[in-house]
Structure formats: structure tokens, C-alpha cells
């Protein structure tokens, strides 16, 4: 891990892509995420000595899990002294690979598939201070290969303990209704953020998702693609 150079992030490109990179400038998105950020920072890990686990999930694909997970991670890095580990736990889509330039990098799926590989060792630091990444991995899991829950939780435990107290682990997951990983990961989370897309997420799907997550602690919700108020951006009330 120390041998590998920090991953260079093209912040300007990210900003152009609509991400809320930490900056002096006012960011509507960063502003919208502020309450969530505060909650995330205040989240205490269930077991002391490890980083808090924040699972970002949703009912269906394309509702903005990856987008919001990355944004949350980026904007957290703007907070003083924040240490953030962003884990791409969606082996099907690997949504973070494209914006962060992680394509072809070894990552979580490789660690899960190979007992000899240490997940903690695959974490890459980035040029953005405080931000570390765990790519999804080269081994794309097919629907025919159900993930091992034990291995996944074990890997998560290793990662968070290694990351240590005071850190925040943000896990981007596949949709709840389309895979098992999200529920497994949420089961170990200290906080679950369910992304809901305005005018798109069906009520039934959301209800179903929430019922599947009912045993998880601190389940909150983000409304994505919210209607812009005509006067401008609607603040969180």
C-alpha cells in the first residue's frame, strides 16, 4: 500500500462532471449535502476503534447511489481533519471506476475471490487529502456467482479496523432489490442512506426496500433529482 503512489484525481474534471469537489467556491450540491455530512461525521461506529460505516443504497439501479456516495465522500474531504474511505461495493456496475479512473484496478472483488489477497492492502490513497479509495476490482461478479456474505463482512471489518477510529467508510452498493450485497453490507453499517429518485422510484419498491432494511440502524433518505423550486434551489427544510 505504501509502495503504490497516491491515485491522481482530476478534480477539475470531476467538478465539470457535476461533482461537489471541496473548494472555496459555493457549491449548491455541497450545500444540499451539508446536513447529511454533519450526521455522517457524528456517526459513532458500533465497535469502537474502527471507522464508521456509511452504506449508500437504493431500491433500483440508476437512482444516484454512486453519484451521491462520491459526492458525499468528496464533500466530506472539505471538512477539516476528515478521513474518508470510499468503497465501490457494486461489482456489477462499478460506478466509481469511470469518474475516478479506476478501471482495471484490483479491488474488492479480487480480495473476495482470492483468500490470499488482503482487502486493506488494495486501498489506494488519492491526491485529494483525506480521501482513500477501494476500487470494485477486476473480477466482475456475474449473477451466477452469489457473493459470500461472510467474506464480504470480514473484508469490511478488516478495512474499517485498518482505517481506524475517526475515519468514515462510505460504501457504494448495488440496488437492494437487484442483489444481496446491499442488504448484507447494510446489516453491518452504522448508518444507511437510501437514495430515492423523485418521480421515479416506485412507492412499492421503496416500501419493500425499507422493510428489508428495517433492522438496520439510522436509516435515512436522500431525495435525488428533487424538483428545483422555481425561485432556485430548494434548501433542505
Amino acid at each position: 500500500m505504501a509502495k503504490r503512489p497516491p491515485l491522481a484525481l482530476d478534480l477539475a474534471a470531476l467538478e465539470r462532471a457535476g461533482f461537489a469537489v471541496p473548494s472555496e467556491r459555493f457549491s449548491a450540491l455541497g450545500e444540499a449535502l451539508r446536513p447529511l455530512r454533519r450526521q455522517v461525521l457524528e456517526t459513532e461506529p458500533a465497535e469502537p476503534g474502527r471507522a464508521a460505516i456509511i452504506v449508500v443504497t437504493s431500491a433500483l439501479p440508476g437512482e444516484g447511489k454512486t453519484f451521491l456516495a462520491l459526492n458525499l465522500a468528496l464533500s466530506l474531504c472539505g471538512e477539516p481533519g476528515a478521513r474518508v474511505l470510499l468503497v465501490d461495493a457494486d461489482p456489477y456496475r462499478q460506478g466509481l471506476a469511470a469518474p475516478l479512473g479506476l478501471r482495471g484496478q484490483t479491488g474488492l472483488s479480487d480480495a473476495l475471490g482470492d483468500a490470499g489477497l488482503d482487502a486493506g492492502g488494495l486501498v489506494r490513497k488519492t491526491t485529494l487529502p483525506g480521501l482513500s479509495l477501494l476500487p470494485s476490482g477486476r473480477r466482475a461478479a456475474g449473477p451466477g456467482a452469489p457473493p459470500s456474505g461472510e467474506r464480504l463482512t470480514a473484508a469490511l471489518t478488516v478495512l474499517t479496523s485498518r482505517f481506524g477510529q475517526g475515519g468514515t467508510t462510505i460504501v457504494d452498493t448495488p440496488p437492494v432489490l437487484a442483489s444481496a450485497e446491499a442488504i448484507i453490507l447494510a446489516g453491518h453499517a452504522d448508518r444507511v442512506v437510501v437514495v430515492v429518485e423523485n418521480r421515479r422510484t416506485p412507492r412499492r419498491a421503496l416500501r419493500h426496500t425499507l422493510s428489508m432494511l428495517q433492522d438496520c440502524p439510522n436509516v435515512d433518505c436522500i431525495v435525488n433529482m428533487a424538483d428545483r423550486d422555481v425561485q432556485g434551489l430548494r434548501g433542505y427544510g
Binding site: L33, N198, R200, P202, L206, V223
Partner: protein, 518 residues
């Protein structure tokens, strides 16, 4: 964009936002409906419309005769009658035969239905005061033309008969009117004459006004009165004078004194002869009671008695009495004055009577004059009306003569039965446009319907309330290069699909006009 949105009512804005999600289904619906509709329009069977236009010379035929006598013959009414008679069962049967439509229907029921259909489909319309059109549509232009042509024949035939009947009607009507007015005129004449005879005294003075007549009568009466007075004065003076003059004069000389006129001094025999001549002259002019006649006769008698008693005169030759000539003359004048007075009195009383009568009549004269004016006016009105009717009858006779001589055209076929090359139905451009509108409406309906049945979650507050969950952030769509580009691409595609629909519409129209004209 936001500026526009600011003026859209919020509920509608929400609907539009919701519908935005269904933009592609909506567009697909529009396309599907449009294509299907255009196909249907294209496959609709052509209907050709045969039409004919005829000018019916109703104005010349009826109106001059009946103008001002009856209410103008109602066009709609006439059209109704025409429609009913033209589209009668018998006519339709004839049309079916002429147009060769018998093969279309078999069996009584079917034929009945065919007739009914024809009655409904043949349109007889009034296109103006005197312009009528007959139209009929059919798949086969030739059949359509034949139907209209045979109807036109029937139309002309029946309407010629009609107008003749109308003409006769008009004439008998005028005749009866003339008879009526004749009677009225006679009555009025009678009334007028009656009235005139009853009030002849008032009406005697034609030309001068009644009051003028009364005034002149009064003047006359006053003049007569003055004359009476004058005559009375004269008589009184004479009478007084006579009292003072002695009848006889005592004469000493044998010779009678000659005082007055020669006749007084002449011998009695001469005087008698003179008086006899005078009397005869007077009697030739006047009646016996004329004062002069009376006076002369009396004088004659006196003269005769003088002649019979010459002894008395001769007996007193020296100191005899001679008749006073002055006295004689005065008494003669008195007689004259008395006669004058009597004449003046009678004149006066006659004038007085006239004044009385006239002033009595003056009370009623104005009413009589007014009544007479009324009667005269009534008579005049009736007379002009009567003469007008006579003139009309004459003109009717003339126009009838013209008609029977065949010079006059009552029906002019403005447009002989013809069928345009392009079918009258379906009006493909119109229907295609309607299809486009329908497509758009269907798309809107689909969009709004989907929004209605849409079960997706809504705004943050609604989610929080409905699912009992905390909403920690509400994030709108963030602008980004790729996202914006994608949106642009999508918008462009959407626009392309929409303009494609419009282009298809234009193409459909162009194709239709090409087909219909080619």
C-alpha cells in the same frame, strides 16, 4: 426557461414535470396514432360529389304580380316544398332507374332502405334568393352524375308545373281582389252621393267659404233694413205734407189755374185718355197690385168721375172749387212711397230669413265639410287601389302571354350536372390535419394518464410523511458537462422525433395533393 416556468401555475408545472418522464411514451403514442390515422385516411374510399346549380326565375314569375299584396313568398318554405316533392318516393324510384342503381338492392326491404338512403344523401340547398343546388355523393362519379342529372330533369318538370299553378293562383287572386274593390268602390261612391244630397244646403256654396256667405247675407239684410227705414221716413213726410195741402182750391176765375204738370191742368177728357195710356203701359210691365198701377188706376177713376160731372165743375165757373194739383201729386207720391216701403220690408224679411238659416247651418258646416273630406279621401284610396289592381291584371295578362309564347326562361341551368375530378370525400388534407391534432391530443392524454396512475415517490416532505423516514438531503439534478450533453442529446432526439412527426405530416399532405392532382 425559469422565467417562463415562473408563470406556469404550480399544479400544472408539477404535471408537466411528471409528464416529462413519459416524454418518450407520449411521443411514441403520437407517432403511432398519427401513422395509424393517416393510414386510415389513405384507405378511405373516395366519394365523388356530383352537383348542379339552377337559377329559378321566381322573381319575374311571381313577385311583380303579388308584390305588396301578399307577404313575399318565403324562400325556406318554397325550398321545403321543393325538397319534399323532389325527393318523393316516386322521384327517387325514377332516379334509381335512370342512374342504374337497381342492381344495388334486392328485395323490398333492401330497396326501401336504398330509397331512404338516397333521400338522406341527396342534398337540395338554396344558395341565394333564386339559386338552388342539388348534390349527391357516390363512389362512382358517373353514378353520382346520373343521379343529379335525373333529379335535375324532375326538378325542372315539377317546378314548371308549379310556377304555372302559381301564376294561375295569382291571377285568380287578383281577380277576386278586383271584384272586392269594385264593390267597395261602389259602396263608397254611394255613401258620398248620399251624404252630398243630405247636406246640399251646406255644400251649395262651392268655392266660397261658408262664413263668407253668411257675412254677405248679413250685409244684405242690413242694407234692406236701411232701405225700409228710408222708405218709412219718406212715406211719413209725404203723409204729413199731404195733411197740410188742401184737396181743392177755391178758384174765382173760370180758367183753372195751372200749377203743376200739364196733365193736371188739361181737361178731364184728355186726362182720362192720358191716364188710360199710362195704365196700359204700366200694366204691360207690372201686376195689378203694383203700387204705380194701383195709383194710376185710382187716378183714372177720379178723372173719369171728373169727366162724368162736368156740370159740377161748370156750375161754379166763377167761384168754383178746383182740384188741387199739388195734393194730387203728393198723394200719388205717397202711394208710391208706401209701395216702396212694402217692397223694402219684404226684401228685408227675406234677407233676415236667409241670415237666420245660414247662421243655423254655420253650426253644422265644419262637421259636414270634414265628413265629406273623409268620404272623398276614402273614395280616392279605393279608386287608386282598384286602378292599380286593374293594371296588375293587365301586366299579368301580358306576362302570361309572354310565358305561353315560350320566350320567357323560368329555369336556367347555371351549372349542368358535373363531377369534379377530385373526390369530395374524404377531405384528406383536413382529415390528416385532424389526425395530427388527434395524435397530439392522444399523446397528451397518455402523458397525463400515466402521471395519474404513476406510483412513483414525490418530493422530500411527501416521502418523509408517507414512509416515516427522515429525509436528510434533497438534491436536484446537478448540471454537468456529460449530463448536460446527454440532456442535450436527448432533447435533440426528442425535438427530432417531434419535427419528424411534423415532417411526416407535411409529407402526407404533399403526397395527397400529388395523388389527387396526378
Amino acid at each position: 426557461m425559469e422565467l417562463i416556468l415562473r408563470y406556469v401555475p404550480y399544479p400544472l408545472l408539477q404535471r408537466l414535470r411528471g409528464a416529462w418522464r413519459w416524454r418518450w411514451p407520449m411521443l411514441a403514442t403520437a407517432w403511432a396514432v398519427a401513422l395509424l390515422g393517416w393510414l386510415v385516411v389513405a384507405l378511405m374510399p373516395d366519394q365523388y360529389q356530383a352537383a348542379t346549380r339552377i337559377y329559378v326565375d321566381t322573381d319575374n314569375l311571381l313577385t311583380p304580380l303579388l308584390r305588396n299584396i301578399t307577404v313575399d313568398t318565403d324562400l325556406q318554405n318554397r325550398l321545403d316544398v321543393m325538397q319534399r316533392t323532389l325527393l318523393s318516393r316516386g322521384n327517387i324510384a325514377q332516379v334509381v332507374k335512370t342512374a342504374g342503381l337497381e342492381a344495388e338492392a334486392r328485395g323490398a326491404l333492401e330497396i326501401e332502405r336504398q330509397y331512404q338512403r338516397l333521400q338522406e344523401k341527396i342534398a337540395v340547398k338554396a344558395e341565394g334568393r333564386n339559386l338552388f343546388s342539388v348534390t349527391y355523393r357516390h363512389r362512382d362519379p358517373e353514378v353520382a352524375r346520373k343521379v343529379v342529372a335525373s333529379l335535375l330533369d324532375i326538378f325542372v318538370e315539377t317546378n314548371v308545373g308549379h310556377s304555372r299553378a302559381n301564376m294561375d293562383d295569382a291571377r285568380t287572386f287578383i281577380d277576386s281582389q278586383i271584384g272586392e274593390y269594385e264593390q267597395k268602390l261602389k259602396d263608397a261612391e254611394h255613401r258620398l252621393a248620399d251624404y252630398k244630397t243630405r247636406h246640399v244646403d251646406v255644400l251649395a256654396a262651392t268655392g266660397t267659404s261658408f262664413s263668407a256667405r253668411l257675412d254677405s247675407a248679413r250685409d244684405e239684410r242690413d242694407a234692406a233694413q236701411a232701405k225700409v227705414r228710408e222708405a218709412a221716413v219718406t212715406r211719413d213726410q209725404l203723409r204729413a205734407g199731404l195733411g197740410r195741402v188742401p184737396q181743392f182750391l177755391d178758384v174765382d176765375s173760370p180758367m183753372p189755374l195751372v200749377i203743376g204738370g200739364a196733365n193736371s191742368a188739361v181737361s178731364p177728357a184728355v186726362r182720362v185718355r192720358q191716364l188710360e195710356v199710362q195704365l196700359a203701359q204700366l200694366q204691360a210691365q207690372y201686376t195689378d197690385r203694383y203700387p204705380d198701377v194701383v195709383a194710376t188706376r185710382r187716378a183714372l177713376e177720379a178723372a173719369r168721375s171728373d169727366l162724368a160731372q162736368p156740370a159740377a165743375n161748370a156750375a161754379t165757373p166763377s167761384r168754383g172749387r178746383a182740384a188741387n194739383v199739388v195734393y194730387d201729386q203728393l198723394s200719388l207720391r205717397l202711394v208710391q212711397a208706401e209701395a216702396d216701403l212694402a217692397a223694402a220690408e219684404s226684401r228685408f224679411s227675406r234677407a233676415e230669413e236667409t241670415v237666420k238659416r245660414l247662421s243655423a247651418l254655420a253650426q253644422v258646416a265644419p262637421r259636414v265639410e270634414a265628413d265629406l273630406a273623409d268620404l272623398n279621401r276614402e273614395y280616392g284610396v279605393l279608386k287608386t287601389k282598384y286602378e292599380d289592381l286593374l293594371g296588375r291584371r293587365e301586366s299579368a295578362r301580358i306576362s302570361a302571354a309572354v310565358e305561353t309564347s315560350g320566350d320567357k326562361v323560368h329555369f336556367r341551368i347555371i351549372e349542368p350536372p358535373y363531377v369534379p375530378l377530385t373526390p369530395a370525400w374524404p377531405m384528406r388534407p383536413l382529415l390528416s390535419s385532424a389526425v395530427l391534432l388527434l395524435a397530439v391530443a392522444a399523446a397528451a392524454a397518455v402523458g397525463f394518464g400515466l402521471v395519474k396512475v404513476d406510483d412513483s415517490v414525490g418530493a422530500a416532505e411527501a416521502v418523509a410523511a408517507e414512509f416515516g423516514i427522515r429525509v436528510v438531503a434533497s438534491v436536484p439534478r446537478m448540471p454537468s458537462e456529460s449530463g448536460d450533453a446527454a440532456l442535450r442529446v436527448e432533447t435533440r432526439r426528442l425535438a427530432a422525433a417531434a419535427t419528424g412527426l411534423l415532417a411526416a405530416y407535411v409529407a402526407v399532405l404533399a403526397w395527397q395533393s400529388l395523388v389527387s392532382h396526378g
